[in-house]
């Protein structure tokens, strides 16, 4: 058991019915994650990263359908679970934390109330014990004078504190897998650093496996063991963090890294790199590479053939027909040979 991966996602596909046809939000996403590792899924809005997370949790909206060959967490098959089994499993063995802490906390109930509710759903303990547990976890996430905090309502807390409460609430049942969907995006930079510091410390201390969703490559570089870059519902590049960020191979990842103004590295006032165009429509049938319409190295093959997520050296996987050294910009339609 210990040797097999903790999380197995095999060909996860999520389609959404819309008025204009079927939208392929996530297409054939596969990955395996060993226990105790952090996978970051990074991509722009609409790339399907949140849908992947919701799909794993089985929290998809009604018009979305999920298909997968295998979805296994902790050796349990998520696809075969009954609703009751699922509600015992979620929150207990795997838990999720969302972007905006104000909307995920109920404004009508105190923090203590909501924390106790969570733990008593999964553990058979008295309300008093549950409150003690709650205050213990609040201290653990760095909220001092936690006993008084339990009687406060969410609006009495700052954004950073609310997110800490969410983290405490999520960890109370001691889940082993955590899915974090942009947990620091709504926060100030200083608070973001503090929350990441906290999450990362808890992750190491409790041996948590974490799937971390973000659009910020800076955050990715500091927290992830592995990175998956998502574009148009597909993983376009996957590998160890250092590999992907230091020797990015997919034109999209390379473009993203050039777009970022980095203090001390990008020349001040100079033009930043851009990725022209915009994300393609994910509705209807798709053929060829999803990035082809924005790629400066596009070749005729890119438009017609299906591009697989190909294995390269060092467990690096890239969804591109070409190796970086083979990328030639402005390839003519006629004489393109890979």
């Amino acid at each position: 058991m210990a040797s097999s991966p903790y999380v197995i996602v095999d060909e996860l596909t999520i389609d959404i019915r819309t008025a204009n046809g079927v939208l392929h939000a996530v297409s054939n996403v596969s990955f395996e994650l060993p226990q105790g590792e952090v996978l970051c899924i990074v991509g722009e809005s609409g790339s399907g990263k949140s849908m992947t997370a919701l799909g794993l949790m089985g929290l998809l909206p009604g018009m979305a359908t999920r298909k997968a060959k295998r979805l296994v967490v902790e050796g349990r098959n998520l696809l075969a679970m009954s609703p009751l089994e699922k509600s015992d499993f979620l929150g207990n063995r795997m838990a999720m934390i969302f972007q905006e802490p104000m909307t995920s906390l109920n404004p009508c109930f105190t923090i203590g109330n909501q924390m106790v509710e969570t733990i008593r759903r999964h553990r058979n303990i008295s309300a008093r014990d549950a409150l003690t547990q709650a205050s213990k976890w609040l201290e653990k996430v760095g909220i001092p004078s936690s006993a008084g905090r339990l009687d406060q309502y969410p609006h009495q807390l700052s954004g950073g504190l609310r997110q800490r409460v969410m983290i405490a609430m999520m960890l109370m049942c001691e889940p082993k897998l955590i899915i974090a969907d942009e947990p620091t995006t709504a926060l100030d930079v200083t608070v973001q650093a503090q929350i990441l510091q906290l999450l990362s410390a808890l992750q190491r201390e409790l041996g948590l496996t974490m799937i971390f969703i973000t659009h910020d490559l800076g955050v990715v570089s500091r927290i992830a063991d592995r990175v998956a870059v998502m574009y148009a519902g597909q993983f376009v590049e996957y590998g160890a963090t250092r590999e992907v960020l230091k020797s990015a191979q997919h034109p999209y990842t390379r473009g993203l890294l050039k777009c970022l103004p980095v203090p001390g590295r990008s020349a001040r006032g100079a033009h930043l790199g851009t990725i022209p165009g915009s994300v393609p429509s994910l509705t209807g049938d798709m053929s060829g590479c999803g990035f082809a319409n924005r790629c400066e190295y596009v070749a005729p093959d890119c438009l017609t053939s299906t591009v697989p997520l190909a294995d390269r050296e060092n467990e690096h996987r890239v969804r591109c027909l070409f190796r970086p050294e083979e990328l030639i910009s402005g390839r003519t339609a006629a004489g393109a040979t890979p």
Binding site: V189, A193, L260, P261
Partner: protein, 334 residues
């Protein structure tokens, strides 16, 4: 003569808000901006940074004259703001807002959104309105085929281009950019930043840039003002500030920048979790409850403003020659 006067000057500008707390309890005063003084020269790109709730948007709204200062005055080109007709000012000063989804009227076409300032300012002839609109659309990189489209048919980046075109059509002198890219994706953000830089060159613009993205600030600005609870705690030109931040809050801000570098860990930010309330700001230096370097005087007395050439600083650690070398060297190693 005009050129020697600063384009915008703020003198002890404050803004209070009155918060109702109940029928019988007295109103509370929220001091959003507390006596801010600064000057903005022609051609500057002044960035105002700080965490949410520090008053940077209130300050920007006062610069736009959407809000009146409670006390103090704002001089535009050497003259007090309220002495001139509002049209004259809006011809010189325009704004770009954060969210291009809510700043554009969904029921108007792109062309009527962009040309509205022109029509308000007395250009009635429809042929020249059309010509000017197409010209500015071309400048900001909007294809002419979008002329009769509606905002919902545009992507986020295109919408922000519409907002920029609307701001620039009157050829203003100064543009207030309130978080112009924070609602956009990274690849679109860089397009908009490039456009803002090009437009600055082309129209000789002065920008006031409100942002919490320090990467963007470092890239675009030449002067940076760091705000904390309604006060400007440090102000310097961009290079100096990023190379040698002095105020502990600035140091913490800069330390929390995360560049995509897998060799570095998550930055350690030495700020407490307690968050100050603008309704009840701490005594003395407003930052002292979170400051890791506080000394006894910090909670007693509001620090004086220290001027060092172009640089402005409000911190007890550096007042009266107390500038201790330990803090300085620590700051540069962050």
């Amino acid at each position: 003569m005009t050129s020697s006067r600063p384009l915008l000057e703020l003198r002890d500008v404050s803004r209070d808000f009155y918060i109702k707390t109940g029928i019988f309890s007295p109103n509370k005063i929220l001091r959003a901006v507390r006596s801010v003084s600064m000057t903005i020269e022609r051609g500057d790109v002044l960035a105002i940074v700080g965490e949410s709730g520090c008053g940077k948007t209130t300050l920007a709204r006062m610069l736009m004259n959407v809000l009146e200062p409670t006390s103090g005055e704002i001089l535009y080109d050497g003259r007090p703001d309220n002495e001139r007709p509002p049209e004259e000012r809006s011809r010189k000063l325009q704004a770009i807002f954060q969210d291009p989804y809510s700043s554009l009227n969904p029921r108007k076409t792109i062309s009527s959104i962009i040309s509205l300032p022109l029509r308000i300012h007395g250009v009635r002839d429809s042929a020249s309105v059309r010509r000017e609109t197409l010209k500015i659309m071309d400048k900001v990189g909007l294809p002419a085929r979008l002329y009769d489209n509606y905002p919902n048919q545009l992507s986020g980046g295109q919408r922000q281009r519409v907002a920029i075109a609307r701001a620039l059509i009157l050829k203003p002198e100064i543009v207030i950019c309130d978080e112009p890219t924070s609602a956009l994706d990274v690849s679109v953000q860089s397009q908009i930043l490039n456009l803002l830089m090009d437009m600055r060159q082309e129209f000789n613009l002065t920008y006031v840039l409100i942002s919490h993205n320090l990467g963007v600030v470092e890239h675009l600005a030449n002067k940076v003002a760091v705000m904390y609870l309604g006060r400007i705690v440090e102000m310097a030109d961009c290079e100096t500030l990023f190379a040698d931040p002095l105020h502990p809050y600035t140091q913490a801000l800069l330390a929390s920048i995360m560049t995509p570098d897998p060799d570095l860990g998550i930055p350690v930010v030495e700020l407490g979790v307690a968050f100050p309330s603008a309704l009840n700001p701490p005594d003395g230096c407003a930052f002292h409850p979170r400051c890791s370097k506080r000394i006894p005087i910090c909670n007693l007395k509001q620090p004086d403003i220290i001027l060092e050439g172009e640089r402005k600083l409000e911190c007890h650690l550096f007042g009266n020659g107390q500038c201790d070398e330990g803090t300085r060297s620590k700051s540069s190693s962050v």
